[in-house]
Each structure stands twice: as C-alpha cells, then as structure tokens.
Symmetry: D3
Subunit: 285 residues, 6 copies
C-alpha cells in the first residue's frame, strides 16, 4: 500500500505541470541515440503520447544524418561537408529526401501510432508549408535556409488532433519539384516561433550545457551566452544547438531546452519534474 | 536519477487509464472520513482536480449526516430514525437543507476551487433538476425517493467546464419551496445513470466488500450478489451500498466502485492503477 | 369586448420596453417586504419569469439579515453591529453562510423554478467568482469588500439560459474555506458593472428617493447627489442605497433604480411603464 | 397606482401564452378590412411586431382581390369568375402578379418595417418555393393548385430573423416565367403545414363560425364539420375558409383560427387571451 | 479529339479567373437589350448561374424604364422628364413600383431559378435596406437619392446561398409606405460599395467607353476621366454611366466594368477571359 | 469575337458537370505515362487543381513501380514477381516505402502545390489509416491486402481543404514499424468506397476497355463483365483494372472510369464533357 501511495503522490507532483502546459504547443527536435536505440525509441513514443493525452500539442521535427550517409554509400554517391554542413548536390538531394521523408519520417509516425497517437508524417513540401532559399547563395548546393513557415497548415493538423511529424525538407519559393535540405535544429526553432509554441526541446546525446567544471548548467540566461562562447565554455557542436535555442527565444518562445536523449523518458522528466534534467535557456532572469 | 526514472514510469503506468477515461463522466459519492479529516480532504480535492485536468468529468455528490445532527442538537430539534433512515420532519428539513446546501456543499466547492477547479455547488432544487416524492407514502416525512433527474442541467454545467458538487436535496413535483431529503448513495446512483456515466465511485469508511474470511473481494459480479447477501457475507450497512451499486449498473453504468476513503488518494489509486484498492461491481464476467 | 381591447393596448404599451431590453442583462437586488410577504414573493417571481420570457436576462442578488438574526438567536450566538454593518465573527460567519446559501438562496431559486424558470442558486464561492478582502483591515471580522468579480462564470450560466440567484458571500483571495459576508447592495452594484448590465434595480421598503417635501424624485442625476446628501434630503439608510447606485453608474451601468418592493409587481411597473414607480439614478441629463 | 397594477396584471395574464408560443411559427392569412382600413392596418402591424418581439415567428400570406380588380378595370382588361374563382387569362395574370407582388406585398412589408420588424416580401416564385399546376386541367387558366412548398427557403429567412410576407403566386414546375394565381387561404394552409406551424390564423370580415342561432362557435372539432355543412350551419363563403382550416389541421398544424379582422388587435386577443375572440378549429376533443 | 483538347484548354484558361473571384461579391447592373431580347436573356441567366456555381456571389440590380412607360401609357398617366430623370409623381410612383417590383423583378428571378439558381427578388423596401431622400429637395417628386444601404440584409441572403435580385426602389427614412424611384446605375454602385464588392459590372447597349477614333478604351484610369469629359470624348448618356463607375471605385470597389449586353455571354467573357470585351475603370495605374 | 463566344459556350457546356460534381469526392488513381512525361504531368496537375477550384474534392492515389525497380537495381537488391505481383521481401519493402513515400509522393504533392493547391502527401501508415494483412498468408512477403480504411483521417484533411496524395503503403494491424506494399489500383478502390466517393478514375496507358473489334466500349455494365472476361474480350492487364472497378461499384461508388492518361487533360475531358473519352463502368443500365 505504501508503494501505491507513492504512485499517487507522483501523479500529483506532475499536476502543476499538466495544468501549466494544457493546450500548449511544444516542438521537439528528435534525434541522436533516442532515435536509434530500440528501447529509447519506445520510451520516446510513450512520452510523446502521454504529453498528447494530458492536453499538450506535441510537434516532432526529426533529422536523419546517419541513415542518409548509409544510403549514399550503398548507392556510391559522394557527398561533401563544409563547415559541418552537407554540400547537397542534386544527386544527394534525391537520397536525402527519400530517406528523410520516406523512411525515417514514416518510422517515427508508425512508432507514435502504435502507442495510440494519430501522427501524420509530412515534410515542408506538403502544402508548401516550409519555403527556403539556397544557403550562402548556393555554396552548399541544395542545403537551404528557411524563409517562411506557413503555420496555418500545422495549426489545421493540430486542430484535427493529429501529431505532426516533420522531415526537414523545404520547397523553393515557386513550390515546384525542387527541395531543400534544412538543418533540423533550425527547422525546429523556426517552427516553434511560427506556432507561437510554449517550448522547444532539443534531444541530444549530451547532458546539456556544461560549465568549465563539466557540471550541468540548469538554467542559462540569454545575456550570459555571449561570454560563455567567448571563453569557450560553450564550444564545438554545442554552439549551433545554443544558436537554435536563441533563435527560438528571440522569437518569443518562452523556453528552449537541451536535454539528454540517452536518458530514459528524458522528455517527461524535463517537462514534468520541478528541476528537470537538462539545460533550459531563457530570456529573463 | 533512478528515482526520476521511477517517476516517469509511474506517470506512464497511468497512461492507459487516462486514455480510457478521457471525456468520460465519473460520479463520486463523497462522504465519511474523507470528508471530515483535514489531510484526507486535501488529498481528495487534489485527486478530483487531477482527474479533471487529465480529461475526466467528475461529478460530486455528498452527504452530511454528522453535521446535520450537530446542528439539530444545538437547536434542540428532535429527530428520529426508522430502519436507519431519518424521519425528516418539516423542522428537521429546514436544518437538513441549510447544513447540506449552505455549509457542506460550499465547503467542498471551495476546497476544489482552492486547488484550481471551477466547482459549482448546487442542490437538486437548482433548476429543479432532481424531483422526488415522499418515501413510503410519507412514512419518513420529507425523506424522498427520486422520481426524475434532468441530466440536461448537469450536462450544461459540464459543457461549461464546471465540476458540479451536489447536495442530495430534491424538489417536489411542483418545484415549489418544499424540499426532500435524499439518501446520498441513491442520489449518486440515479445521477450516474441519468448522465450515462462511465463509473460511479462510493467513498466509504471500509476497505470494500469483504468475503467470509474478511478478505477484500476485488471484483464482484452482479449474478453473485444475491447469494452473498443470503449467506450474510454482505450484511448491515454494506447492503444499501451494494444496492446503490446495483441500481447504477442496472442503469448501464459500466462499473460501480466501493473504496476506502480513509486511504490517502484512494480515488486516484482506484482509477489509475491496474488492480485498484477497493471492490468493483459489474454486470458481465 | 372593450375590456379586451384595453388588454391589447396594455400589451402594446409594453412593446417599446420589450424591444429596448431584449437580450439585456438586468441585475436585481431582492430584499425587504418583497422577500418576506407571501403574495409579494409570488408576484416577484412572476415578474422575473416574465422578464426572462420576453428576452431579458435577469440576475438576482439577495440579502437575508432577518433570518440570519433569527438563527443566531436560536443558536445563542452573539453578534455585534458597528456603523450599521455586522462585525462578522467566525462563529457568526458559519451561520450567515448557512442561512444565506442554504435557506434563503434555495427558497428564491425554488420560487422562480415553480413559475417556469430554470434558476440556479449560487454564492460568490461557487467557481470562486466573487473574491473579497476583510473590510477596513478586519475591523468587521469576516465582513468583506469585493476585490474582483469573475463575470465569465455568470455569463456561462446566462448563456445556458439559467437565471443566476446569488447569495452575497465571497471567497478569500486564495479560494479556500474562508468566506466573507458581503453587503448585498454593493454586491449587486459590483456584479452589474462586471456584467456590463443595462440596469441595476434595488427593491426596498420605501417609495424611492424623496425630496424635502417627501415627494418622490423620479429621476435623480449624478451631479445633484452630493448637494442632496449635504442638505440631508438624502439621509440615513438611503445614503448607502444611493452610494450603491453611484457605484453602478460610475461603472457604466446605464441606470440604477430604487423602487418600492411593497408595491405589487413593482419591477414590471418600473421597467415596462413609461414613468415607472420609483427613482431612477443616471449620469447624464 | 390601481391602474398601474392592472397594467402589470394584464402583462402577466399574457404570460402563459408567451411561454407556449415561444419559438413557434404562426402563419397568418391577412386580408379583408384589416388590410384596407388605415387604423386596422396600423394595429395589425403592431400586433405582428409584438408577436415577433416576444419570440413567435410570424409568416404573413396576403390576398388582394379588390386592388387587382381596380387595375384590371383601369386597363380595360376583362376578367371572368367561375364558381367564385377567377379564370386567370394570361393578360389577367400579368396584372395579378404586378398588383400582388409589386403593390400590396411591398405595402405590407413597409408597414411592418415601419413598426420595427425586418420584413421581406416575396412571392412563391422567389427561389421557386411554391410550385403549382393549373387548377382543374386549366379550366381556370393560370389559376393554380400548389403541388409543393420548399419550406427550406422560408426557414432560412426565419433563421435570419426576417418576417416573410408572401404574395400567393406560384411557379410552374419548370420554374420559368409562367406564374400561377393561388387562392390565398389555401396558400396559407399549405405553407403552415410545410413549416410545421403551431397555428394558422385567418383574418376575415366575420366574427368566426356561427351556429344556427348566429352565436359564435368558440371551438369547432373536426368530427363536427361535415354535419354542420350538411345542415347548412356552415355555408357560402365560410365553406372554403373551413376547408382551408381542415387542410391545415389534417397536415398536423395544431389549431386553425378564423377571427374577425374588423376588431382592433384581433390577432393579439385571439392568441394572448384565454377565450380568444373567434373560432378555433382543431382535431381532438 | 483535337476539339476536345481545345475544350480542356478553354476550361483551364478560365482557371486563374475562377481562383481570383472565388467567394467574391460581384454586383451586376442588368438592363438594355440583355434584358429584353429572349436569347440574350437566356444567356445572361446561364452566365450568372455559372458564376454562382464556380464560387462567386452575384447580386443583380435591374432597371425597367420601357415597361414602366408602357404601363403609364396604358393607364393614361402622364410622366415628365427633367435632365433625363423622371419627375416621379405619386401617381407615377405606384406604377413604377408595381412594374419594377411586381413584373420585372419576378421575371428575372424566375429566369435565374429556371437555370438552377435560388434567386430571391426584393426591392430596397424589403427589410428597409435602401433608404432615400427626395432628389434635389423634391424637384423630381418621388425620385430619390440613396442615403444608406443596410448591407447586413443582403449579406444574410448571400450567406444562405440566395442570389439577390434588386428592384431600385427605396424606403423613406421612416420606413413607411412611401417609396422612392432610384436610378438603377447609382443603386448598383452604392450597393457594390456597401457590400465591399470585388467588381461592379454595367450591362449597356454600347461596346464600352470609346476614344475619339471610336475605338474601345479597354482600361480607363480614374485620373484620365475628367479630361476625357472635358474634351467630350465621354459625352451624353455615357457620362452618368462613368459617374456611377467612379462612385463605386471611390468607395473601394476594385474595378467597374461597362460592357456590351448585346454580345452573347458578355459577362462571362468580361470576367473569364484575359482581355475582356468592354471597358474597365479603375483607380490605380 | 466569334472565338470568344466559343470560349463562353465551352464554359457553359461544363456547367451541368460542375453542378453535378460540386462537393463530391473523386478518387483518382494516378500512374503510367501521365506520371512520367513532363508535359502530361503539368496537365494532370492543372486538371486536378481546376477540379478542386470548381468544388470537387479530389483524392490522389499513386503507384510507382518503375522508380522502385530503378532503385532496387542501383542497390543490387533482387526482387521477384509472382502472378504479376511483387514478392516484397523485407529488404525490398524498405526501398518500396522510401521511393513511394519519400520520392514519388512528394514529387506529386509539389507538382500540385506549384499549381495553387494545398496538397498533403501521406501513406497509409499516417495516422494508421490503411491497415493490411499479408496477401495469401504471406506468399508475397510484405505485399498486403487492405483490411480497413479509416476514412475519418482523409475526411479531416478534406474538411481542412487539403488534397490528399496517397502512397499505397499500409500499416499492419498493430500499427508498428512494419509496412505493407499495396496494389495502387485496389488501394484506390477501397479508399473510394470508404469515402463514399462519387467516382473513382483510373489513369492508364490504354484508351479504355475495347471490344472484339478493338473499338472503345464507352459504358460497360456490371452484368456484362463476366461474359466479356470469359470470351477474352477483357484479358491480360485489363482484368485487374476491371476488377478494381468492380470492387468500387460493388461498394456503392456510382461510376468507375478507365481512361487514357496519355491523352492531354484526359481527366477534365472525361469528367466535363458529355461523352467522355474512356470507359465508364457502372451497376445499372
């Protein structure tokens, strides 16, 4: 019976969070170990469907670098990276789109559906809701920068109680066959701003932002980011993550979270426990 | 961290129940220790508001025997019981109504509101939604039997996202000043049937229905009730409780629960854990 | 036949008033003789239901001083008045709430329902729609001043075609068990302002505001009130009534009426005949 | 003051009728003196707008024989009657339509609007809502019998809070230019049936149906009509009126009224006083 | 097969126009040959119903000078013109209204209905939606100038999917029996402005506005109108047409069209082909 | 001008079809030359968007055999056919899904969007709306037979004015990662039945069903199909097409069309000209 009472108390502890997030949109960038290890995948799906059931509106944006590379290799197609970004040739782009929209997107969608959601997998080409232009005047081929997000399209899917699962591919301005390969972190940020989301959450393979002593920074204020980059506390692959967070909070998303996708149920823990498990980045102190 | 994971798992265990009860109406008869002991009252309120937040529609029906007796005594008004039911004189009735509708009802309503609900306290006289005639041709004075429940009135309050808290007083057929004192258990059953509720839950000061060896019967099927009463396994004050349950399930309420209100968070445990804590009474095996 | 034609003409005379008040909210402070004498009670109920049927939205606020005193006396509980206002001790407050919310409120609700309305009796504790703080820093105990009115709660009841009957009890800011005893006249004014009502009507046991010669002042303009108080034309118990009217018209309620509840059908006569029967207080001349 | 109280009592006497007719459709055949004498016209308009304001949905069907004859004469066009019905030649029909739809219909519409209604004048040709075929295989020229009523068209106008004023002209089955001249009494009956109206009221220049002693028959049951026609109690021009009533009550309209349009406010008196002023014809005893 | 492909191409050429005009209101002044020659009438009706089916909301305003004159003559009623406008005596007005509202209006309505529309014929007296005062202080009798258009009335009919067909008669300010004779071109302009229409189209018996060499001016800009009138390029009966167009575009109607009603399907050609067939008048260059 | 009149006449000829199909759902199986030749693709897209604009609700189901084979070859993955159906190994299935959902589906979606539609590309895995079991107990590997269609999912997309573009992949009954390869013709039939579509149209690379003399059969009645198969008039690849049509009309789809996708604008011609261009299969004669 003691155990049962603990159960009740745990449910009740989640109470203020459920109240706070009710009917709020939360954009989740899904990637890393959480997307590849079977038991983490299952737990991710359970978390998302629970969020959905207690009244949040989750929107999933996913990446898929590794699977793309596998297929490029199998097909003997060369690909090149510049400053950590793929230079997406036309030949690359067909594979990128096929793997992102055709394989990974539907895999995530099925995963969520098998746990009781009604998820719909789309890319930014659907209803032309993401438009892009070539990054750096084409220096990266069909790698693009988002120029507009038609949030109405996503809003209609949310209104019909679907969970949108988004492959980071955008249309060109003319909406034709051409597609652009978009960085998934930046897609998540842009979408969270367009949807006026409460939160954007980045699932990563690190614990969060760490300080000089490698301890987790639980809350990181906007005003402190510049100096932490300057003194190289924030460095390497963490810089673009933090930049994506900044983009979101500059666009009036209240909080951006960087959390450890390798931890079981990390999303639930971050959203539904009082001290969370990763780093939250916010504007105000 | 281990503790945090347990937290997540607990939340996820509640998952199938949240899914099942979403948008379902549950009528709860509130009484006994849960209504008088301060810490149980707080926990009851938290439970109800949590149910409400995760999508159930709770409807509360309360009793109030002890407080009525206190006031009758203070006012030197005599009262008489016959077969365990009050013979409600006109003088009694004024005090019954005053204490039920004016004191207890508003106390429960305030309790729920202080935890974040929008509860509205009414009696069956409001909008004349409960009508009654005198029990046994008036042998019990103004103690009445419900003849009709206008579920539209409660439905409108539920549609507006209010939690109805109901004092078991009914109007006469002509809707005038006269009121009838109604047994709260039977009121809860009748209301659960009229609302086509998923469940009716009776909070009591016992563990549930016990077998000959005083062990809890977790599930009690309708077909077995008669013989259990005959062999006096079910006896005394438990008989009217079980009869109220029968009334509900005969009226197509799926399950009727008798649970121990003395246990902290008993409602949450009964509804959101797989084996519950009390006795569930149902039609089908 | 001549009489029949007069009947038709009377109906037609009411015509412009019906047109003017259609879909308008009117708050009525119900008290005095109209609340205690049986035939006046019946006539009051008929008037309110007629208003309702021809398209107005009546909201009733009632007092109940005498019945409270009766019960305090029966229970041997002392009560004290300071400047005409009750100093509400905790012991007093339980009786105040019990009598107002449990007896009088339900009596009025039943009365209206028996004439064909769907009335719902609530107090300011329901859905926490009236909040208050102690008057004069607690000098009057649990006598309170309203700090906010959640008009949404009343609006929802009006939208569902209920007539709200309101006992003047408020919650504290924290919505808990504590209740505050509110002056019914001021409650009516505050509520009329929050609902953006067309009118607030005070049923009293006087003909209205009288001039020096004891003749009725039919229309009293805001600008003249100060001097009438100064020269004691308005004095005694009429001052707080007029102050309650001022509160309403300062809050953009168009007209505040003080009428004689001892006159049969006084509400109907005030609202549906061209010169009315009492005093109307308004801003503009 | 005594007079004022009578005013209130009159209003309250109308109360049960207002309650009964709320949101009910009433079809009124408007004709005779009430349509030609200026002061009766004004009173008719006031009555209709009052019905509208207290929640009824009036639908007006008018005739116009005299004005048609005036214009036929001015234009030197011959017209012929057979069994009391006009044999409507093509030349006649243009004048019939012009006078009914263009003059009389708009005159009534304007009259109602000037008293505060939103009346819209149409004929059965509008949206082709009345269809007809030639009466007696064309023996009466363009005099027609209604074959269908598209009640949706009227319902849409009622939903938008318009009062439809209907000229008794119908389209042919092919909806083209051809129009049919329809007996206004029969049009009113057919329309009342199609709208599932509560009542149909015929304004005439007689007191109602009279018995052998020339006393008014207040209530006439369906089962008695045949014998009253046989013994010539009902005779002459009253026969088609009574037949139109029968058509309505056979089509499940509850009551058909024949009232004296020469009496001021006859509609109001018939509908809003307990014994009415004319003859009501109904199915059941 | 070649012919079939041309069919498809024609349909597709109409495509951008269908897209552009979807859900837009277009007011059409209907008059001249298109209103009198049988085959042009049929084609007009087909055009309007096609517009309606592909998603436009057509509103028809018609004139009727010739038929009015015919009837005035038949009735030996004199009429007088001053500056090209009828001086409408009271005697005239009855005939004007009768012919416009009773004959022509219903003829057009029937025509549209016989091609599958749900048209409703009204005049500005219906629901009092057009109000007018006498032109030039009464110098033209009951010829009036529109002072207000209640667009709500038309909007409600459009919302219910009716095509309004409007006779240019207005009520006086008091909405009574008096009617005013309104110039149909000006009525169309005023109504197009009140409805915030996309276009107003005038069907005439000329090709459009011609230049000095008698060639059609396809697009006429507002800024050029004054000089074209001054040098008499625009003269005679074209001046009031152009003035009516100006009234519309000054009221934020995007384009006003003067087209040749003698050409078969002129409306369809003007709206659904890229260069149109008449003159379009617009604000901006 | 003569040419312009022809334009108008062509538009008007389409009129009865536009009227008939308004708000009707039409399922189109898209494949063959129309899906591969650039100018046919453009014309297909224009046709679909025109259908959409004039009020139909198109739903596109596509195949993609050739592109799948190309990729299987590039990846050196063997595939095997049995009775004309692919034996879909697990390795095959990944490629099938990737090419159908990732490449072809998004290509068609982009094509429609570039012509002004809001198309959304999904597969049967999205919201799990198509469920399947292995064909012939697994004899064809992951080639499946549809067991249910959740038409609600498509209906919600249609309600939001999207054009659904569907890749013929289905979920298993448990909605997990496994997908089934579905014959696109049968998918189109099943979906047309579930949506209660007006029509299903199959775009093929033949003129339609031909008779013994190789002349087109314009209308083929259900009752004649068996004998035509028996005498081998219908043979080879036409048999499964006709079977798919039969499935649809047995499921109460009114008409199934087999048309020549190699003809420009074949859909428009089939739907919007009176004799069409292919074979229509229907139940009744």
């Amino acid at each position: 019976m003691q155990k049962k009472i603990e159960v009740a108390n745990t449910l009740l502890d989640a109470f203020p969070f459920i109240k706070e997030f009710r009917n709020q949109t939360v954009v989740i960038k899904y990637g890393g170990a959480a997307q590849t290890q079977p038991h983490l995948k299952e737990q991710f799906a359970k978390d998302i469907v629970l969020l959905y059931l207690v009244g949040l509106k989750p929107v999933i944006v996913h990446g898929g670098g590794k699977r793309i590379n596998e297929y490029l290799e199998k097909l003997n197609i060369k690909t090149q990276f510049k400053d950590g970004q793929r230079v997406t040739t036309k030949e690359n782009m067909e594979v990128v789109e096929m793997v992102l929209s055709g394989l990974i997107n539907k895999e995530i969608t099925s995963l969520l559906n098998s746990h009781g959601a009604k998820a719909i997998g789309i890319s930014g080409k659907d209803a032309g809701f993401l438009k892009a232009i070539p990054k750096d005047d084409g220096a990266f081929g069909y790698t693009g920068n988002i120029t507009s997000v038609d949030s109405q399209v996503l809003q209609k899917l949310l209104d019909e109680k679907f969970i949108p699962v988004i492959a980071p591919i955008a249309s060109g301005e003319s909406l034709g066959h051409v597609g652009y390969n978009i960085n998934a972190d930046l897609a998540a940020s842009k979408i969270s701003v367009a949807l006026n989301a409460k939160k954007v959450v980045f699932l990563t393979d690190t614990a969060g932002v760490l300080d000089k002593e490698k301890n987790l920074i639980s809350t990181l204020y906007k005003r402190d980011i510049d100096s932490l980059i300057e003194d190289e506390t924030i460095s390497g692959g963490m810089i673009p993550k933090v930049m994506a967070c900044l983009e979101a909070i500059n666009g009036e998303v209240q909080k951006a979270h960087i959390i450890d996708g390798r931890v079981e149920h990390s999303i639930l823990l971050e959203l539904f426990t009082s001290d969370g498990i990763g780093t939250v980045i916010r504007k105000m102190d």
